[in-house]
Amino acid sequence: MSKIGVFVCHCGENISRTVDCARVAKASGQIRGVAVAKDYKYMCSDPGQALIKNAIKEHKLDGVVVSACSPHMHEKTFRKAVTEAGLNQFLCEMANIREHCSWVHEKEEPTTRKAIELVRLMVEKVKRNMALEPIRVDVTKRALVIGGGVAGIQAALDIADGGHEVILVEKDPSVGGHMAQLSETFPTLDCSQCILTPKMVDVGSHPNIKLYTYSEVEKIEGFVGNFKVTIKKKARSVDIDKCTGCGECQLKCPSKKIPSEFDRGLKNRTAIYIPFPQAVPARPVIDREHCIYFTKGKCKACQKVCPTEAVDFEQTDEYVEEEVGGIVVATGFDLYTTDKQGPYPDYKGYGEYGYGEDPDIIDGLQFERLASASGPTGGAIQRPSDGKEPKSVVFLQCIGSRHPSKGIEFCSKICCMYTAKHTMLYKHKVHHGTAYVFYMDIRAPGKGYDEFVRRAIEEDGAVYLRGRVSRIYRSGDHLIVKGADTLSGAAVEIEADMVVLATAVMPQPGIEGLFQKLGISYDQYKFASEAHPKLRPVECATAGIFLAGACQGPKDIPESVAQASAAASKALILFSRDQMLREPVVAKVNENTCIACWYCVEICPFTAISKKDIRDRQGNLIKRVAEVNPSLCTGCGTCAATCFSNSIDLDGFTDEQIYSEINSLMAVGQDLFPEPEKAEGDSPDEKAA
């Protein structure tokens, strides 16, 4: 017979105000199998816990029900307490008589009765609880970081500095991401490359970092602590070990008219190219789509000129496998393009603004390149159409962002700041020019941010107009920008030499393919979703996968870096132990009755169940049964509810436990508890039954 202890908490007056706790304890004491039942003012306090621990020892309890607040509140506390008294933690359960009872009902008889029934329900469950041991899973102490923007770089460096190996996978030929393209950065206006390049170099040379550029994640198997990753190294056509990065090939390549991605089309590059001078690795790659040899069958100019014979036209995509324990996703963002047909088919562009048609209408990143000392103009602000210095520039904010009719409701967060920065960079270079900004609201919370915007307006004289622009059209040498200033109510028309659109921050197009491989969720825009928006902002719901940077939502550099370090620390926490402990709420198969119908195998959302052969000593197949991998099982119980032969059950929520809980509800007329006065009349024999 069970020896259960029931401990009823008053929670100060939080419970006892509406529930008669003494009576709950008394009635609980009469449930068969209950050896001791006590009430106390604060069960979670030290003396309260001591009371439980002593009772466990004194009565040799084999189960405990703490009747108090929600298990989400204090289950851990009490499970720890019972362990200290030598009882297996999974023999302790909580009956929720606060959130589910005292706080939501009036002080009346049925409320106390409900509390008693909730206790009884849990007593019946605990009687069937089993001592369980947490599941131990070995941890591979290596990390995979996907994406080599500033977030990925920071996460990789932190984990590597923490002493663990990192595999960094970047799809482009160089790490750096968008930050490498920026000129100066808000709110301090320091040069982006000056602060980023040293980190890029560190990533390239760190002994703990294995860098795969021009590579993508092909496949991911396994689970937290034990992921197996297949990486596709795209054919670079250059042997980066032989190559010294001298750049001779670029000079000789006859295919020179390819718009440079790095300069966002404001400059051309060759077919064999190093994306930008500070690239890491500073090694070229052949863009096979534009290479004359690959398209026409002859040329090989680069191979002829290469002093180290590094150019290799035969190279093919290569697949490598890496084992890692944790993954940081840092795939960053892309900009919404305002072309009529951008990369995001679900969103309507801004045909009315003429982006992609008129060369003097550019986006924010193009402006960064124009303003950058390493950019196509060497840092001089010149308009793309004819290289003239623009006398007036109109900046439009919220292009796409906060525009539900264009398909996007969110705020891109960084544009207010970088537009202010752009007006300053412009004014610092074109002293007599005028910068106009059309905005909806200025959102500049953050350390030094509002001051920065004010400076743009007050010191650098940027003209801020609150309103949207309805149309932009060309009139001779100028662009006419027609809009409204909603503050004055006046229609405005500005003659501009150049227009800069602050387009929305979007996830990388097609990134959901990677997220699906990883088994992580994403929102309607395909930004990766965190496990909890407030309390677990860097973890994915899938264990062992963490998020860093703009892949999760629009972020500026300080935020991306902070999150990257947070993700790294989560990975380091994971790596701090040789083995991980997991809740032993996992499914188990009854091999005797399993009929190998594979319903569970098909239905398990975590592919935790596989098919197992049972053989005799001679190796003859006797039968096949389902088998649960406890490291993969998350304990949802879908299999247990689906198996019609009832051959698979879920520890912690077994059929027997649930059955007993239901049974405890009793049939009509049998479930009733004493009115206070009647309670005195219990006969002792009845109790002994």
Binding site: A27, Q30, I31, R32, G33, S70, H72, M73, N96, E99, H100, W103, V104, H105, E106, E109, P110, T111, K114, L121, E124, A541, V585, I603, P605, F606, T634, G635, C636, G637, T638, A640, A641, T642, L650, F653, D655, I658, Y659, S660, I662, N663, S664, L665, M666, A667, V668, G669, Q670, D671, L672, F673, P674, E675, K678, A679, G681, D682, E686, A689
Partner: protein
Amino acid sequence: MSESPQSETQKDGAGLPEAATSWEPRIVAFICNWCTYTGADLAGTSRMKYPPYVRVIKIPCTGRFDPLFMIKAFERGADGVLVSGCHPGDCHYTAGNYNARRKYTVFKALLETLGMDMDRVWFSWISASEGGKWVDTIRKFTEVIQEKGPFREYREMIDVG
């Protein structure tokens, strides 16, 4: 109506004194640990009020819900059964609730065919932030059950056994 169905728990219960005889609604709610349970917790922390006749049985996920649970609950005298979990797309285990929804669809049709009173069988999605929805649901369900009275049809059957 005989009043002495035999089962283990009743034997257990025999130690408990008998009391009130007037009928009170008895609602059993199978709710998932992540959304609805937390939603019901929130109703508590927000000190919302609802009638005290619901008994919660926590399951990890609606995916764990086997329709047998519902039958057993009715056999044990429930006047109404609610099953509630995370909204589609929000299941902690990604797909438990989608699988559950198929089971509901089939089982509900079966109960309908058998002429069960479907006002006594409710399904809902209640998120961790919908304390208010939990309260409304329980209130409304209790009202319906109170209006209908005890689940006589089923109880007659139980008591014959």
